[in-house]
């Protein structure tokens, strides 16, 4: 459980970090909170010759809520998101999900950027960001580009980010209406057996918009357009919730692990999605 030797880089700005990546290519990886990468290195399942620590880069930190948009710097920790009053007012689903990540010690170190960029299907923020229809900003040697969270994930640990790019910030329109992040896990510190993020708006007793995304139920986060569509135009009654759950379940592809076999996870997913939708509707 000791990592192999590596070179440690600690650039002071984004340009410097991109420079290290450009210089060492495949042999370099950026380090955010380290809660996925460091264990992999200690298990010697990841061999990194050049580790680029982003913690000194001020431009990657901070939360801003302005002009109907929320922008979060990639190096913002989960703890900072949980305790930021502006963010909790603008998008309370963030704190609701973030407090369900691991434990306080992890949340002091773990960052939103690391959580979304790593492509680990067990991470909670990717599904949440798909639910919020967030946009990820990627900085590379040739400038920056933006990728929608809903287009970012290709398969486990494989994303739209190129090796030479750094995910610098996340932004999304300030959500309206009801929300819920529901998660079942075996214990504190565990990844989800099933988790679901829901944002829903209602006007005049009818659902006008709904976004539903799920965590750890496939090799990527799963955003289900059909599940949201099943709610829109309805009163959010039991039949509509059931239809949305059915639609959401059609999009998942869980695999068995120590948490249980796929059929169990599929059943739990149905329960958790249903509860998330119901709770979100109750707040809408």
């Amino acid at each position: 459980m000791i990592a192999a030797a590596f070179e440690y880089h600690r650039p002071a700005d984004l340009k410097g970090a991109l420079g290290v990546l450009a210089e060492y290519g495949d042999d370099a990886r950026v380090l955010a909170g380290g809660h996925s990468l460091i264990p992999m290195m200690k298990l010697r399942m990841a061999s990194i010759d050049h580790l680029v620590d982003l913690q000194d880069i001020a431009e990657l930190k901070g939360i801003s809520v302005a002009g109907g948009r929320v922008t979060i710097g990639a190096m913002t920790t989960q703890h900072e998101m949980i305790t930021n009053a502006d963010l909790s007012r603008a998008a309370p689903i963030i704190a609701e999900a973030a407090v369900q990540i691991a434990d306080p010690q992890v949340r002091y170190m773990g960052t939103v950027g690391g959580n979304v960029a790593n492509g680990d299907p067990g991470n909670d923020m990717p599904g949440l960001m798909q639910c919020l229809d967030a946009t990820f900003t990627l900085a590379g040697p040739d400038g920056t580009r933006e990728v929608a969270a809903r287009d970012f994930y290709h398969s486990a640990y494989v994303t739209a980010r190129d090796d030479g790019e750094i995910l610098t910030q996340i932004s999304f329109a300030t959500p309206n209406g009801g929300y819920a992040y529901e998660k079942q896990k075996r214990k504190i510190g565990d990844y989800a057996t099933a988790a679901c993020a829901v944002q829903v708006t209602k006007t005049g007793g009818k659902v006008t918009a709904a976004a539903i995304a799920m965590t750890n139920l496939a090799d990527t986060p799963v955003f289900s357009d059909a599940a949201g569509a099943a709610l829109v135009g309805t009163a959010g009654d039991a039949a509509a919730v059931k239809a949305a759950v059915t639609a959401a379940l059609a999009a998942i592809n869980p695999t068995g692990d120590n948490r249980g076999p796929a059929e169990f996870k599929r059943h739990i997913a149905g329960i958790i999605i249903g509860r998330a939708i119901t709770r979100a509707l109750s707040r809408a």
Binding site: R44, D103, Q184, R186, K187, I188, G260, F264, H267, I268
Partner: protein
């Protein structure tokens, strides 16, 4: 005397003796990070060792090439079985009369087995060098199921035992069979069951778990080639046993070996055994002449050092129609892994499993235990319990529940009907134990009243009705347990480990100014011995506990003892402490009489002093006496005030308890919430109520872990599936419920202060209480038996199989 003269109550309180919730003296250093654990020990020139471990559960080792590793700067040596063979140390004896490979000798038998030992200048170089050792394996068929292991065509695991039709515990009937151990009267039991009005039969599996102490195992071995002295600091629950074994294995005379257990961060049975890491560190230190440290990481600990349980218990219990139990038959298939490295008293290869008649007056019983080799890690230790007692308690407490179902009877009533009555103690069980004391009905009635048992059953019935009406998706389980422990191993006449009798010891030295040091053969791993043994002594010798230092764990200074496990410290070493204290007091009486110029018989003991009978104003305190013992030339009495006692207990002690767990279960998700947990413990005389409460909280939390999620499981090719704390359940404060503790006090009649031991009771009683709550929630829907651990998936599976998901 005047108003300023302390009252007897004041004087008693000042001692902080028996019955006082004295704060733990250890905690000042532990809570400030000032403990001194093995990995804190750093010696000049110290080297580090670590293992190349097998990725396979069963494979032939074709070759080990360490050339690249040895070429790495900082690497001092790479030891393999070939290097240890000339010293005859490539295998070592186990505590169970088997032998175990120190380093892979031709083959590996479990994933994580030690293959080569790398010694390097620092821990980082070690880790790099391990990667460079090239081992060529040829995979062999794997067997992880003990029933399949006993099939005729099963792979031969232990080729070293070829042709051996008997082992340390009798005949072997198959190449993967270790022993069959039997006790009781099988013919009479079968007859009673055949004749019975009601019989319940069930297979009860107690899954493989791991003690998982916060501190993993490790040692620092240091051979001083100048004076020929070997010092080993290590995580040893039995340092004297380690010294003797090290002497027998190495040929170094015992006086030249010093074994030290410094602070230990939890043992729970994991640190009783002798591990390859110890042997390799010692050999490496002898070879290099430098200290060598070996410390497991968490994965090493979970995968390779001793597991617990893994008992398949097939039971039959019979009764009359009105619920009087008439017989109990149990056959166990015991999965011991690749080597039989159980830590049991030698004559008991299944430990004290035959306490499995529990708290009940069962006229006839039989137990047979088949030990089996599989491609799993060795061990079989007593994880926070006396030897195989938690398996026994789980078995009988499940069989009682199953019998209650068969009888259509309330499980509390069934227990009450069959308890050994108070007037039957000392009670001789059908399987050969003499229970020392107990008052089960009183404890049981107190527990049921405390939780309003009748009210709980009413609520449960209402819940079931509401569930059936579709008004709720949660069920209520009421988990009952009345357990009887057997601890304090043990009488030398039948308890030994490798021939070493299981007595224990205490040596007391009173200092002239009235303070003292006492040394014991045990070793605390968190139990608070430095606190509680001082309290025993304070009451015995009348010096304040705060003036008494307790020291354990250094074989150069402590008297010989068999260590701490199986709740034996208080029953055995605690008794030795009281007896040594009484020797001190006996000499003090003579000194007091001389000082008071009266006959010995004319003074009597009074809390902290001897007083002249009938003249309480004439007295000598123990402080006065201590000074006089050293500085007055008393005719006929040697100077000094010291005593030593080696205590061979006449019997085990039998703590017991009544637990009730009330659990809410979500049928749809398989999640649970412990709404209430009531634990009544009777551990005889209570030394420190606060420490007892802490022990109960800790033991219950480990029981929760075991019952509700903890396991060491293997896939079909022998990969360990739970080698990290992500997948091995160790509860945090969040998962831990609130516990309500209570007690009755039935002293042991044969123990000098009547104490019985408590550290392990909550694990023994807790596991069936949690598990029975899960079972009980589904009783109304037809559940009889579902194996632990009751994690979300398995609870969900129960509901699913009972058709509760619609």
């Amino acid at each position: 005397m005047n108003d300023l003269t302390p009252t007897p109550e004041d004087r008693t309180a000042k001692l902080k003796g028996l019955g006082t919730s004295r704060k733990r003296v250890e905690d000042a250093r532990f809570t400030q990070g000032k403990g001194n654990y093995v990995d804190d020990i750093k010696m000049p020139g110290m080297l580090h060792g670590d293992f190349v471990r097998s990725p396979y559960a069963h494979a032939r080792v074709k070759s080990v090439n360490a050339d690249a590793a040895k070429a790495l700067p900082g690497v001092i040596a790479v030891l393999t079985a070939a290097d240890l063979a000339p010293l005859n140390l490539h295998w070592m004896p186990t505590l169970a009369g088997d032998k175990q490979m120190v380093l892979a000798d031709g083959k590996v038998l479990f994933q994580g087995q030690e293959v080569a030992f790398v010694v390097a200048s620092d821990r980082y170089v070690c880790a790099d060098a391990i990667e460079l050792v090239e081992v060529e394996y040829e995979e062999l068929p794997v067997v992880t199921d003990p029933f399949k292991a006993l099939e005729p065509g099963a792979p031969v695991l232990r080729e070293d035992l070829a042709g051996q039709t008997s082992g340390a515990h009798g005949a072997r009937r198959h190449h993967n069979h270790i022993f069959l151990w039997e006790t009781g009267d099988e013919a009479a039991t079968n007859q009673a069951i055949a004749a019975a009005e009601v019989v319940a039969e069930e297979m009860v599996y107690y899954h493989r778990v791991h003690p998982c102490p916060l501190e993993t195992c490790g040692c620092v071995a240091s051979m001083d080639k100048v004076n020929g002295k070997l010092t080993v600091f290590g995580t040893f629950q039995a340092p004297h046993v380690v010294r003797t074994v090290a002497s027998l294995l190495s040929g170094i005379e015992e006086h030249n070996i010093r074994v030290v257990s410094p602070d230990i961060g939890g043992g729970f049975g994991n640190k009783v055994g002798v591990y390859p890491g110890y042997v390799c560190s010692i050999v490496a230190s002898i070879v290099t002449g430098k200290p060598v440290k070996w410390i497991e990481d968490r994965m090493d600990n979970l995968m390779a050092t001793a597991f617990a349980r893994d008992y398949w218990m097939k039971g039959r219990i019979s009764a009359t129609k009105d619920g009087r139990i008439t017989g109990l038959h149990c056959h166990v298939t015991a999965d011991h892994g690749a080597f039989d490295a159980c830590a049991d008293p030698t004559k008991f290869p299944a430990g004290f499993f035959h306490i499995c008649t529990g708290s009940y007056d069962i006229p006839v019983a039989y137990v047979g235990v088949d030990g089996v080799y599989t491609n799993k890690a060795p061990g079989g230790v007593a994880y926070r319990c006396s030897f195989r007692v938690t398996e026994a308690a789980y078995f009988i407490e499940r069989m009682i529940e199953v019998l209650a179902i068969e009888l259509g009877m309330d499980a509390a009533e069934l227990r009450s009907k069959n308890f050994i009555r108070k007037d039957q103690f000392p009670y001789n069980s059908a399987l050969g134990w003499e229970y020392d004391s107990g008052d089960y009905h009183t404890a049981w009635d107190k527990a049921l009243a405390a939780v309003d048992y009748a009210g709980l059953r009413r609520e449960q019935a209402e819940r079931v009705a509401a569930f059936k009406r579709g008004e709720t998706r949660k069920l209520l389980g009421i988990g009952l347990t009345h357990f009887t422990e057997i601890v304090g191993a043990g009488p030398v006449k039948n308890c030994d480990i490798l021939g070493m009798g299981m007595f224990d010891s205490c040596e007391i030295r009173i200092h002239p100014t009235g303070s003292a040091i006492a040394r014991l053969g045990t070793i605390s791993q968190g139990q608070g011995h430095a606190t509680t043994f001082a309290q025993i002594l304070a009451t015995e010798i009348g010096l304040p506990a705060d003036s008494i230092t307790i020291e354990e764990g250094d074989t150069d200074t402590a008297p010989y003892g068999l260590g701490t496990y199986g709740s034996r410290s208080t029953p055995v070493a605690g008794a030795a402490t009281a007896m040594a204290g009484r020797k001190i007091r006996a000499k003090a009486q003579m000194i007091a009489a001389w000082l008071l110029e009266v006959h010995d018989g004319d003074v009597e003991w009074d809390i902290d002093r001897f007083v002249v009978k009938g003249a309480p104003e004439r007295f000598k305190t123990m402080k006065d006496i201590a000074y006089a013992a050293y500085h007055n030339a008393i005719p006929g009495i040697e100077p000094g005030l010291e005593a030593v006692s080696y205590y061979d207990p006449p019997n085990m002690t039998y703590p017991f308890g009544a637990y009730v767990c009330v659990m809410e279960i979500d049928v749809d998700t398989g999640t649970h919430e412990v709404r209430q947990f009531y634990a009544l413990d009777d551990c005889g005389t209570r030394i420190n109520p606060m420490i007892i409460e802490g022990q109960v909280h800790g033991g219950l939390t480990e029981a929760l872990a075991i019952a509700m999620g903890q396991e060491i499981a293997y896939d079909e090719i022998g990969n360990c599936k739970n080698s990290t704390l992500m997948d091995f359940f160790l509860p945090t404060a969040v998962e831990t419920p609130h516990y309500t503790t209570d007690h009755t006090e039935t002293p042991s009649p044969h123990h000098p202060i009547g104490a019985k031991g408590v550290g392990e009771s909550p694990n023994v009683g807790g596991v069936p209480a949690f598990s029975n709550a899960v079972h009980d929630a589904f009783r109304a829907f037809g559940l009889r038996q579902a194996h632990m651990p009751h994690d979300h998936w398995r609870i969900w599976k129960i509901a699913n199989q009972l058709g509760l998901h619609g």
